[in-house]
């Protein structure tokens, strides 16, 4: 049996509220809160980035997996905010957890889908018998342009999964991917902030691909929406996951445990993976979980997991995702936030 043997999350402690951002740009906070179902978002400290959050989430996954990191044969980091333009994030992660030097490492990039890409490849290498354990992390410290709608949601967080054949916590029952070339969101080289296609990001982009992958994997597995205990969709805002859930026949209560976006924001490559860590935290043996990511450009990866008895032994070996979302919170004013995110121009 192949699947997740350990999982871990990491969320920085800083938050900024929608009101605090709206105040600066003269925008109407209630309409953002209602329209996008967003209240606040996480913000990394100046000493946190995709690499540091990857390391911390991976350490939490290792605590639950309780394996020797030397046995990890693949380390993948999926992100659209790798700190270096040239130099891998994965090597730092592999070195920090003690998986080097006999390990395959790669950085993935596919807007918000990079995290599940790494998961797909790590799981596939385990299935093929090429490696004993594979680690995949989805992490981002994404930025929206000041005043842009994305500024209210672009957040920071990481989720890590170790795949293997022994000590399985959640069996990987099925995988499915759905891709087309769709220019809904992009950032060219040397550009600091991304561009997006406004309303074009909805129907032909998010909804088409998430529905495509969701329908595809359920058909492939011979399952319907009511067969699942929980479902996690990519969360660019609060509304999209519920709307797409309805389109696929899911109810609110199946979505809610993994729906973190109103207090967390959109953690891009970490978004649906963090929804999965939060859902595993509260799941019981036998539960069936569907996760469908979405990355602009565009495509979705889908996985079906079935929770195993070992969940009871491991869930409290590392902090729960909800706990990371609630403990030791530090609210920022816009000025501090702008400093933390290097939005202020200083003298050379």
């Amino acid at each position: 049996m192949e699947g997740i043997v350990g999982y871990g999350a990491y969320i920085p402690r800083n938050r900024i509220k929608v009101e605090e951002i709206a105040k600066v740009w003269g925008a109407d906070a209630p309409s953002y809160k209602k329209g996008l179902m967003l209240e606040e978002k996480s913000v990394p400290s100046p000493d946190q980035d995709t690499i540091t959050m990857s390391v911390e989430s991976a350490k939490n996954a290792l605590k639950r997996a309780a394996i020797d990191p030397v046995e990890i044969g693949a380390v993948y980091v999926g992100s659209e905010s790798h700190p270096y333009a040239v130099k891998p994030s994965g090597t730092v992660l592999a070195e920090a957890i003690g998986a080097t030097p006999e390990v395959h490492t790669a950085d993935f990039e596919f807007a918000c889908k990079a995290g599940t890409e790494g998961m797909y490849v790590a799981l596939s290498l385990v299935r093929a018998g090429e490696i004993k354990y594979g680690l995949a992390v989805g992490a981002d410290t994404s930025q929206g342009a000041p005043g842009d709608a994305l500024e209210y949601s672009a957040a920071a967080g990481a989720a890590a999964f170790i795949f293997g054949k022994e000590k399985v916590v959640a069996e990987a029952v099925e995988t499915y991917s759905y891709m087309t070339d769709t220019p809904d969101f992009w950032r060219r080289e040397y550009q600091y902030y991304p561009q997006h296609g406004g309303r074009f990001t909805g129907d032909p982009a998010y909804f088409k691909h998430v529905v495509g992958a969701g329908k595809g994997i359920m058909e492939k597995a011979g399952l319907k929406a009511s067969d699942f205990d929980y479902v996690i969709f990519h969360q660019p805002n609060g509304k999209f996951p519920f709307r797409v859930g309805k389109m696929l026949g899911f109810e609110k209560k199946q979505i809610e445990p993994g729906w973190l976006v109103s207090k967390l924001g959109n953690t891009y490559s970490g978004s649906s993976p963090l929804g999965l860590t939060a859902t595993l935290d509260i799941s019981k043996p036998g539960d069936k979980i569907l996760i469908v990511s979405y990355g602009s450009g565009a495509g979705s990866d889908a996985f079906i997991f079935e929770v195993q008895d070992r969940i009871e032994e491991v869930r409290n070996l590392a902090p729960r995702t909800q706990q990371l979302l609630e403990d030791n919170i530090n609210y920022l004013e816009y000025g501090e936030y702008a400093k933390f995110r290097q939005k202020i121009k200083k003298a050379e």
């Binding site: 402690r13 400290s45 000493d47 540091t52 390391v55 350490k59 730092v92 920090a96 030791n328």
Partner: protein, 130 residues
């Protein structure tokens, strides 16, 4: 100025807290040594520092070295780790008024500094409240 080669040499300590322990008197050396400074024996085995401990002293740095200017003011503390080793590092994610001698902390992996806009990024350990 931290050169890439010096940073690279220190990676086992900066990333993984690799140390060694004297088999005859129990002294833990960080960074690892060839000869025990306490008993002069050479019987040392590899170990890792404990990742939790208690603050025994701290100060607030307001006038920092140039690589740390953007981080100031910040707290630096000496922590007695659970294995008895004293380790100095920044204490972050904690408001200054909440800092206390005796408070429990643990290690987190953070960016320590960068060498300007174009240089290498230096990662390592800091303390956070536990």
């Amino acid at each position: 100025m931290t050169t890439p080669s010096r940073y690279w040499r220190e990676i086992p300590q900066r990333y993984r807290l690799e140390a060694n322990k004297c088999q005859s008197c129990g002294t833990v050396n960080f960074p690892p040594r060839l000869v025990c400074p306490e008993c002069q024996k050479r019987d040392l085995v590899a170990t890792k520092l404990a990742e939790k401990g208690k603050v025994i002293s701290y100060t607030i740095i307001r006038v920092p070295p140039h690589q740390f200017i953007d981080q100031a003011p910040y707290a630096v503390g000496i922590v007695k780790l659970d294995d008895g080793v004293n380790l100095m590092a920044q204490i972050v994610d904690c408001d200054f008024e909440d800092l206390k001698v005796g408070m429990k902390v643990r290690i987190e992996f953070r960016k320590i500094f960068d060498e300007g806009e174009a240089g290498i990024l230096c990662y390592g350990y800091k303390f956070v409240p536990d």
